[in-house]
Every structure is written in C-alpha cells, then in structure tokens.
C-alpha cells in the first residue's frame, strides 16, 4: 500500500495563503467548514512550511487535527460557536498557585542556553523552538530544582547544534568568562544540542584554563515537549554537579543508560555521542565517567590515576584571578576518515584548499593505504602538520607495530595516542589560533585536560 507522505519542499505556489486571505481567515479562528462529503467545526491551525499547501489543518473539538483538501471545501466561515470551553480545562489546579520562595542560602547557578531541544519548547503555531528559560518557567517544569539551586538564565544562542561553528565556541567562552568574573556562581551550565555537544565540550576544555568552578554541558535526546523527555533529569543532574562536584573543569551531564535514575558526568575531552537516539548515547571513551549522579548524590568513580583534575575554588573572591580564557579558534583543520578505495590525491587537494593541519582517522592502530605515503610526505614537506588518530574509537594508536605505521612515522606523521579524532580537530583549531605554528607539533601531545589517557582502562 502506498501512502503519500506529505512533504514537498520549495513549493512556490501558495494556494494556502491565498485561500486564507480570500476567506478573511487567520490562524486560531474557529471555523465551520463544509465539504462535498461532510462538515467540520474546529480551530484553524498553522500548517508547517514543509507540508503541501493544498490542505488546511483543523483542530476538532475532540482535540484531533485533520487536514482538509482546499479543493473540496464548499464553504468556510468563522464560527460563532467558539470552541474555547473544550480546550480549556483548568479544573483542579486553579487556586493552588506555585508561589515560589527560594531559599536565599541556595548555591547560585548560571544556565546559558545555546539552543537545541533542552530547556526549550515548540511553538506549534509558528513551528519555532522558543526558549523556556525564564527562571519561573524552569521551576514550573522541573519543580525539584528549587531544592537544589537558585538558577539565573540567559539565552546566548538559538541554534541546532549541527549549526554551531568555531566562532560560537568563542562566544560561549567569552560569556562563561564574563559570568565567572561576577564571582557569584557555584557552577555554570551550558544547555546545548546533542549532535555536536562533545565538540563544544572539548573546545571549552581548551579555551578556558584554570577554571575555578565546574562548567557542565547538558542536552536532551528527547524534546522537552514530551512527558518522557530526558531534559529534566539531565538538568537536575547538571545542577547537582554544578553546585556540588568537587572538581572544576568542563564536563557533560547526560543519562548513563535508558533509565531516568542515573546521570553520568563525562570529561569534556573524552566524551562521544555514540547513538542517534538513545538517552544513554553519550559515552566516555577509554575511561569511565568521572562521576554518577543518583538520587541527587554524586558518586565519584574510580578514575584514571594519571588524570589531573583541579579542585573547585569555593571562595568566590578567589575565582576570578585564576581563570585564563583563550577564546579563539582557527578552523583550517581537516579531518579525514580513511576507507578502502579513497583516492590519495585528496591529500593534495586538502592542501590546495588552504588547510594547515590534517587529522587522519586511520584504520586500526593508525594506518592508511601505502599509496598515501608519497602524497602525505609531499604535504608534510611543504609545511602541513599531519596527525594520526584511529577510527576504532576505543584504544590507542601505535605506529611502531607494523611497516605501514613505521613508514608513516618516518615521513613525519604524528600519532595522537588515544585522543578522540573530534577532540584532536578542536585542539588543533585552538592551538592554531593561540600558539606559534612551529610549537603545535609538540603541543598536540601535551595533555591539557585529560584528552590523552596514558593508562587505558581495562574495563
């Protein structure tokens, strides 16, 4: 059976708008519609831009939406019979007001919103995602927050995370530095779309050195317009970490698995989104999460002995002096995933496009087809820096085990241990903007925020 899916892009002819104008109707009107076959009473609803323009959408009294083909409509007029009563059902909550009085002694948290699905809602009339970030809205939808923190909120961006670019990282860095310098927050939360949240986490890990407090990135895999959204629990986890985690640094707070009871705290440089849709999509790679939050308690995990994590500075007066913000990023870094059949001439073209650093996601321990050697050598000799990571995701690169690896080493390819390729890209962009080019070769293998773990966990 064939069902015609109703998505038609770029349809210029707008039968729909003409129809509404002609009948002097606007969205939200209650209308009586007569068609050849039957009649309906309902509220005229917005039709998404991407749907065809040959139907109008009506919300009937029973709450269902239906589409009516414009060509079939014999008459349509505003109804006297307003459907208000059927839509408003405020009983049982009318006089219990949420009069919120926050305990003045609660720790303060700044919540910076950058967009994405968390802490936002869909406006069904316009289809736009709008911020739900006034503190009172936040406390209404996540009432338990009032027990844990006094939250200030600010919308700094409104972008799906696939649209986030390095200049946005700069903006976020500056905003965080500004808030830290106000010396009043126990922690800062950045709400972010999940698709590129780990890139932003890595970026902030490098751009903000000597952080006095924890910076917690938080997102949601299920939008907050659903009762089952993971946003509230992720947010409660983030607030718990922002106010009570003993360490400073940049972390990601998301579900540990598909249950709503445990939130994991990942290192900003070692986290990856490993599933398209699951709540527990974010995983720490090669290490366990730093901490788990359960029942509002933080359980610190037994993390790597060579990790360096600074303790948070609890004295607000001392916070501002330590922070060093280097907010700039230079995007001339190319990430290449090697695969069988890839034409080595791509290497020459990458240089032509003006890239200064090439990060390769090689196979296994860090390999590419031997045909690449000469092309890579040519690029390296002309001044491009080439680093090797692995597409295996888990584990270290090691170029001394096989001939291919040794050949790569000999032409000057630099392995990056178990640094995630995404983290390597961000780190290279940051170094490119903030240090002398000649030092980058060495600095890429200097551990800034545990992006390299010398000891890889057995678990």
């Amino acid at each position: 059976m064939v069902i015609k899916m109703n998505i038609e892009f770029n349809k210029s002819y707008s039968n729909y708008n003409y129809f509404l104008a002609e009948n002097n109707l606007s969205i939200g009107d209650t209308v009586d519609v007569k068609t050849k076959e039957t009649q309906y009473v309902g509220i005229l609803m917005n039709r998404y831009e991407s749907y065809d323009k040959n139907h109008i959408v009506l919300k009937l009294k029973n709450g269902y939406n239906i589409g009516i083909q414009i060509a079939k409509i014999q008459s349509i007029k505003k109804s006297d019979n307003l459907l208000k009563s059927g839509f408003q059902n405020k009983s049982f909550i009318s006089n219990v007001s949420e009069n919120l009085t926050l305990n003045q002694e609660l720790p303060k948290v700044m919540l910076l919103s950058t967009g994405g699905t968390i802490a936002s809602k869909i406006d069904y009339r316009t289809g736009a995602v709008t911020g739900l970030l006034s503190a009172s809205d936040l406390y209404t939808s996540v009432p338990e927050l009032k027990n844990y923190a006094s939250v200030d909120t600010e919308v700094i961006l409104n972008e799906y995370s696939e649209n986030i670019e390095p200049f946005h990282w700069t903006l976020i860095t500056n905003k965080i530095a500004e808030k830290i310098n106000q010396n009043q927050y126990s922690g800062i939360i950045v709400s972010h779309g999940t698709d590129t949240m780990s890139y932003t986490a890595a970026a902030l890990s490098f751009s903000l050195t000597n952080l006095p407090i924890p910076i917690i990135l938080v997102g949601s895999q299920k939008s907050s317009d659903r009762p089952s959204s993971d946003a509230p629990t992720n947010l409660v986890g983030a607030i718990t970490l922002a106010t009570r985690l003993d360490y400073s640094g940049v972390f990601v707070s998301m579900h540990e698995n598909l249950s709503d009871d445990v939130i994991a705290c990942h290192l900003g440089t070692r986290v990856r989104k490993n599933h398209t849709s699951k709540r527990g999509a974010f995983e720490s790679i090669d290490v366990s999460p730093i901490a788990l939050v359960k029942d509002h308690e933080i359980q610190i995990k037994d993390f790597q002995s060579d990790f360096i994590l600074n303790k948070r500075i609890t004295d607000h007066g001392l916070q501002k002096n330590k922070l060093i913000a280097k907010p700039n990023f230079d995007p001339h870094v190319f990430l290449l995933k090697f695969y069988p059949g890839l034409d080595p001439k791509i290497i020459d073209n990458i240089q032509l496009l003006g890239y200064k650093i090439l990060i390769i996601e090689g196979t296994g321990l860090g390999h590419v087809n031997k045909k690449f050697i000469s092309h890579l050598k040519k690029s390296i000799d002309s001044g491009i820096l080439v680093f090797m990571t692995s597409q295996c995701i888990w584990g270290k690169t090691r170029l001394t085990v096989y001939d291919t690896g040794r050949d790569l080493l000999s032409i000057g390819v630099i392995p990056l241990s178990n640094m995630l390729s995404e983290t390597a890209v961000v780190k290279a962009m940051w170094l490119l903007a903030n240090t002398e080019f000649k030092n980058i070769k060495t600095l890429m293998n200097v551990n800034y925020f545990n992006e390299i773990s010398n000891i890889t966990s057995i678990c």
Binding site: M5, N6, H55, I122, R125, R226, D261
Partner: protein, 654 residues
C-alpha cells in the same frame, strides 16, 4: 419505567429505575490482528520473559494551545517512578521511547479504512497522527499515538441507523503488573499493538438498556466479520459515556464484558440521579441560607495529634510529614451523609476522590463523632471554624502528607462545587461487582498535540477504491452462507467462523470428503474442551491440524484418534502428529494385519464360539477393540467380526 431486581450494589429489594432521560454513548476499542505493531516492526506477541527492566519518570507538558490538561496535572501530583519490564522478542527501542517511530503499519491502516467504509463514515482528507498525553506510565513516551481516520457514518441495528461519531486508529498501552505506591510496573509487550476506536453517537435510551447491548454486539460482530481483529480476553474494551437529563457526561472506562455493562449502567443511573436529588436539596437550602465551600480552611493538626483515635494515629504514622486540615462548608449540614439511594452519598464520592491522591479517606461532620474521634475533638474543630449552627454548616476533616494536602483540599472544594450542578464531568472505573468508582477528572482535548515525528499523510483515491471490495459482509449474511454451504447448524457456524480455525476449516471441508460438521466440531468443541482442561492450543499449529485431517482422509487414522492426538500435542508430550500417533499406538492397520488380529482372537475363543454361536459376538468385539481402538474404525471391526462369525456359524451348521 422498568423494574428489575437490584443487585448487591444498591439494595436487596426491588427498586424502580428513576423516570429520567438516559443518554448512552460508547467507544469500542478493538485490537487489530496485525503481525506487527503500529509504529515499529516488533511482532505483536507476548513477552518471552520480563527479566530486563528500566526506570522512568514522566512529567506534565503543555498542549499546543498552551494549556496543561487537568488529568495530566492530576496524575503528576502522584509523583511515581515507573519500572518497565521487557523482552527483546516483543519490544525494541521504539517501545522504550529511545527511537523515533517507524512508518505506520499499512495493514493496520488498511483495516481501519475498511472498517470506516463498512460503517459508511467519511474518511478525512489528510490524516494527522496526534499525541494524547497519558502520564500514568502506560505509555513510555507519556503519550498515546492516535489518529482520526473517519467521521460520521452509521450501523444498522434492528432496522435503526445508529450514528457513528469518529473512528480512530491508535496504539495500545502497556500492561500494568503492579503498583506499590512507589513503583508502578508495566510490561511492554502490548505497547504499540494497533487498536481501532469506534465512538458511537449517544443514543437516548427509553427504558430499554438492552438496546445498548445490541448495538455493542452488532459492532463487535462487524469487526469480527472482517477477520482482521484479535480475539480473546482483553482484545476488546469499551468506554461508556452516560448522562441523565442532559447533565454532565460521565465516562466509565474498561468494560470488558457485556453483562457487566448492563449492571454498571443501572448503577450509574441511580448514582447520577441520586446526585441530582442532592443538588435539588441544596438549591432549596440556597433559598434561605448561604452556600459557601471552603469559607474557612484551618490547620487542626494540634487537635488531631492528641487524638486517641486509631484511624487518626494510623494516618499520622503512615505518612511522613502529616498534617490535618478542616474545611468549613456552609449550607451542607446533613447533606454529606444523605442517601437518596442506598450507598449513594456525597461523603462516599469525596472518599473515592481523595483515594486518587493516595489518601485513605475523609471525615465529615454528618458522621462525627465516630472512628474514635470524640465529641470534644469535634467541638474543638467546630469552634475553630466558627461553626455555630451545626444543622446548616458542615465540615470536612482530612489528613495526609503536607506537600499534597493542599491539592487534595482543592479537589474536595472543586468536587463540592459540583454538588449544586449535580453530576461532575469525570472518568470512572468499573468494579468487579459492576459499580463505578471515581478514577480521574475527565480528560480534556488539551491533552492532544501533533506527533511531530510523523508527517501527515493522505490516502490515495485509488487505494480507497480498491478497499471497497474488502468490506466484510454482515455477520448474519456470513453465518447464513456458512450454514448453507457446509450444511452445519447456526451455532456451530458462528463458533467456527469466530474461531481462529475458520480458514483451515474451509480448506479441509473444501478439499476432503470429511463431513464439515465433523471438522467444525473437532476444531471448536474438542479444542475448547482441551483448553478448559488447561492445555495449550497454541502448540497445535495449523499445519498439524491439516496433517491430522489428511491422514483421516487417507484412512491412516480413525476418527476417534483425533482428540487423542490433539490432547498429546496440546499437553506438549510429543513433538508433532507423527510422534503422537506412534506414542499413542494409533497407526492404522492394513487389511491383512487387521484380519490377522481378528483371526487370532477368534482362534483363542474358538471353544466359546462353538458353544455360544452368534451370541459370542460382543465378547469378540470387546476383545478386538481393546487391541484395535484408535487404529481402526470400530464400525469396520464390527463388520469384519460379524462376517467372520456368520461364516463360522454357517459352516458349522452345514
């Protein structure tokens, strides 16, 4: 007016139904018999085991028009954690709400369209999948996906056209396993199974509730006639909407059996009329006195904390941060305990209401002092509420955890304000005895908003055209044609058609010489008998049934063997038909083998045959059958023995 024997709910005496205008409408929810679920590719089967679990918490969200639905708020105040049990054979990431829904199941959609056409309904031009917010945990997403397929239409019942309001296609919810007040547990296997919902236009019942049963039965038969719906307990459920004298409509959910429906409707008519009588009394009082609900609400926990009442002590110990509040209600004196009909009173309604919040009940001034609460304590409460005229002004006392008590008091006041109107607009549940109890405020349309993961879709006119040929004939026509074609009686025809063996019945009857009445009785009566003994009919596959009847056709087995083989298979004693035949020793004998067995018996009893002649037949028959039962048709043995005996006697007499 109609008289009937009152069931145990109201009174053990005859009582006339009140002379009121009764309007009844209902929604039928029927599971569809599709292979896969509505929005994912999981099979619609029971879970293998329920060992895997995960935990969730659901929260209320606003509708697309910006309102919170009262039901949703109501449910969320209970603040429960939900534990889901699942098995990979019947659930995937979609049911776990971890993956967006797949494309809609086209078989389910086709069935919904066919039923809509059969009910003469108008199919909507463009179908929009909606989310109906349900945060009791029965849906992992916190909403049930549902879509309006068609509106209008009718079904003919006893030559009357009964109107259809809407036909929707939706997902079934998870099955509840338990609820201990902290965790509510569900199993995921039923979640996502396609359901069709048919809402029937309310009909005015003039004293004959039986008409309603007939409508429900007729729609049920139409659905079954399509052979596209599931059978068995729980596969069809009815929500019934009842109002009297054009008052508010009460929705009663989850009626599974028709006899229950009958009892419940009668109870509900008395209850609603009782509430109307109370409202009339209140209106009379209103002429002379002020009516005010909650004119004073005060904390009385200091009085109650010192009470010697065991009930009060139990409330204090069982809830952590327990407080007591008293609510003054002016004008209600005597009306909280007043019973216009036995068992129908406002006090009881309030008790049911607060139980929804996990609170055991309320105390009201019409019943106090009682339950160990002393007259002195009652007077202290009265004094604090400034109540002077006891006979006019009442109060309610309620205790529970401080964080929810205000919501409870709000709900009590809201409910009492309905006492003037009569019947509140609410959803009730049916009890085992056929009574109804409050379950939640009636869900508003504010809980519907679009499923943004699935774009709206249109049904092509070509498809619709092709579905007209698939509209099922009426039940009566189908049954009549079965009785005529297969020469079986109406009862057997209905049984076989309604069973899951109808197709195999047709196949066997059409392709063999075995009498259809025999095939039908084996398939419905024998299998049902074995099921009643606790054996599992699922073990007996269609292929096995086919095998058994083809062996019968070839005379490999005897008619009498069939139930024996079915029993062995349904007991899970054997792997298949062949195995059963071997284990039971039912292999039919060849003519030669049969003759050898009978000859040896005749040989053995030759002395007796000599002396008794023809009278030795029953002895020979008995001996033979003890060796041959199930292997050879008894009639055949009978004939052979008769023939042989006749010959022996004849020879001797020569």
């Amino acid at each position: 007016m109609l008289t009937f024997k009152i069931f145990y709910g109201l009174l053990k005496m005859n009582l006339n139904l009140p002379d009121v205008k009764i309007k009844i409408g209902f929604e039928i929810h029927q599971q569809l018999d599709t292979k896969k679920k509505l929005f994912c590719d999981c099979y619609c089967v029971d879970a293998n085991n329920l060992d895997s679990t995960f935990i969730r918490k659901l929260r209320p969200t606003q509708s697309e028009l910006g309102f919170f639905d009262s039901t949703t708020i109501f449910e969320s105040k209970k603040n429960r954690l939900i534990k889901y049990h699942f098995s990979p054979n019947s659930s995937c990431l979609v049911e776990a709400d971890e993956e967006p829904p797949h494309d809609i199941n086209s078989d389910a959609l086709e069935t919904a369209l066919i039923i809509s056409l059969a009910l003469h309904s108008t199919i909507v031009d463009e179908i929009h999948v909606m989310r109906k917010i349900v945060i009791d945990g029965s849906n992992t997403s916190g909403f049930q996906r549902t879509m309006l397929i068609a509106t209008g239409g009718y079904i003919e019942v006893n030559d009357n056209k009964i109107g259809i309001q809407t036909i929707s296609l939706e997902e079934d919810a998870s099955k509840i396993i338990s609820d201990d007040g902290v965790f509510r547990e569900y199993s995921l296997d039923r979640l996502g199974v396609p359901l069709i919902e048919i809402a029937v236009e309310p009909v005015t019942v003039s004293g004959k509730i039986e008409e309603i049963i007939k409508i429900a039965t007729t729609i049920g038969q139409l659905l079954r006639a399509s052979k596209r719906v599931s059978r068995g307990l729980g596969s069809i459920r009815q929500d019934v909407n009842i109002s009297i004298n054009d008052g508010n409509v009460v929705e009663v959910k989850g009626v599974q059996q028709l006899d229950q429906l009958f009892t419940m409707i009668k109870y509900e008519i008395f209850r609603q009329h009782g509430l109307m009588l109370i409202s009339e009394k209140l209106k009379t009082i209103q002429k002379t006195h002020e009516i005010a609900i909650g004119s004073k609400i005060i904390d009385v926990h200091d009085i109650m904390n010192n009470s010697k009442s065991k009930v009060i002590k139990k409330i204090i110990t069982s809830s952590g941060d327990c407080i007591f509040k008293a609510i003054r209600i002016d004008g209600f004196g005597g009306l909280l305990g007043f019973e216009p009909y036995p068992g129908i009173r406002l006090g009881k309604e309030l008790g049911e209401l607060v139980r929804f919040y996990g609170i055991g009940g309320i105390f009201h001034s019409d019943e106090l002092p009682n339950y160990g609460i002393t007259l002195q304590e009652v007077q202290m409460v009265r004094k604090r509420l400034d109540i002077i005229t006891d006979e006019i002004n009442a109060f309610i006392l309620v205790g529970g955890p401080s964080e929810i008590l205000d919501y409870v008091i709000n709900a009590i006041c809201e409910r009492l304000s309905y006492a003037l109107i009569g019947v509140p607009y609410e959803t009730r549940a049916i009890t085992v005895e056929g009574k109804t109890v409050f379950s939640r405020p009636r869900a508003g349309s504010a809980r519907m908003y679009p499923e943004t993961d699935i774009p709206p879709f249109q049904i092509s006119p070509l498809l619709l055209e092709s579905l007209y040929t698939k509209i099922p004939k009426t039940w009566n026509d189908i049954i009549l044609s079965i009785t005529q074609k297969y020469k079986i009686n109406i009862q057997l025809a209905e049984q076989i058609f309604d069973s899951r063996y109808y197709q195999i019945f047709e196949k066997i009857s059409d392709s063999t010489s075995i009498p259809p009445s025999f095939v039908a009785s084996k398939l419905v009566e024998d299998i049902t008998n074995l099921e009643r003994q606790g054996f599992d009919s699922k073990l007996l596959t269609i292929d096995m049934i086919k095998d058994v009847f083809s062996r019968l056709e070839l005379n490999e087995i005897a008619k009498e063997s069939i139930p024996l083989i079915f029993e062995k298979i349904m007991k899970n004693d054997v792997a298949g038909v062949e195995d059963a035949i071997v284990v039971l020793g039912l292999k039919s004998l060849t003519e030669t083998e049969l003759n050898e067995v009978i000859d040896s018996i005749i040989q053995e009893y030759s002395d007796i045959i000599k002396s008794k002649g023809r009278d030795s037949f029953s002895l020979l028959m008995g001996r033979s059958m003890s060796k041959l039962r199930g292997k050879v048709d008894g009639q055949k043995v009978n004939n052979i023995i008769k023939q042989k005996l006749e010959q022996l006697v004849h020879n001797r007499s020569k």
